[in-house]
Symmetry: D2
Subunit: 103 residues, 4 copies
């Protein structure tokens, strides 16, 4: 049995990644020990409104993204620092981020 903040084994990561990406136009990818995706918006206010929505979800989940913003672009990298890589928490946050980008 594994807690949500236990490092996932590579096959589990691949399974979860396939599930996360099902139906998405732009997929999440693995970048080093992180789950990564770049979101591009119409302008800065749209990008920052997305970041605000993600901030609310992340603070509620108590798990936060590493992210970079440059005007209309937001690069997201997810990993669980205490675990040293990707855990179920990161997939949960990725799902919430997708929902935030869609609305």
């Amino acid at each position: 049995m594994s807690a949500s903040n236990t490092l996932l084994a590579p096959p589990d990561i691949n399974t979860s990644l396939a599930a996360l990406n099902a139906g998405l136009e732009q997929p999440w990818t693995l970048a080093g020990n992180t789950l990564a995706k770049t979101f591009v918006f119409a302008d800065f206010p749209s990008a920052f409104a997305f970041m605000t929505r993600v901030a609310l979800a992340a603070e509620k989940l108590d798990h936060h993204p590493d992210w970079t913003n440059a005007w209309n672009r937001v690069d997201v990298r997810l990993s669980t620092h205490e675990a040293g890589g990707i855990t179920a928490l990161d997939f949960r946050l990725a799902g919430l981020i997708e929902a935030s980008a869609r609305r």
Copy 2:
């Protein structure tokens, strides 16, 4: 010639209101000396993301709404305090708020 923060005469308000409401599902209405509309969202994060977008537009325009939020609902009232009523600035902000709600 009138500056954007000059009180609009009732016929001008009616003309601008008709133009603002053209094509909107839910119209803005006149409530006392203010331009009013209630926006309802799926949940609090959606409402607050909308408010963040409006905050960015308002601060840029240097003209801010009077607004009330209760979970998924945002009541907006626009008027120009120095002018004591509705001015062209309020219609400009209303247009930006509509754009913020749509995205």
Copy 3:
């Protein structure tokens, strides 16, 4: 034993209110069935940064304020709608809002 969303009896409200207000320059007051306070800031960005911090705390707590903003001013009213009045949850949110205003 009472859950955090059970209506508080008037003596319990008074006790909790005294505890909340201990050490505060501006006290919270009772306004109808709500716990109320007005916060005034230097300008709109300061007011909205406060609101953002409160939004994060409220979404995490799953309990949200009824609040009105006009430029540098934020009027907060707290009550638990399902309970029809003030509960322990409202005092918890009030404490978090105070912490948000101080920083």
Copy 4:
């Protein structure tokens, strides 16, 4: 005569940097073609409230930071992309960011 988005010459950058850093506990530094500083806060809500305040100032100025956030930490890099380096606009934004961090 130079517009605010004209590339600054190295001696002008040094003069402006000294003026910006006067009285600051933590200085801004030059990192490549950017003006850089890392801000560390108590927690994520404090970091994101700071980002919200900076977002409002940046959108008003129509000049935005490149920035990275990881929980309580915000790394800011300023440069004017069209100019290919640091301009007076970047120093103006840096000043506004400092004011945002102090409050």
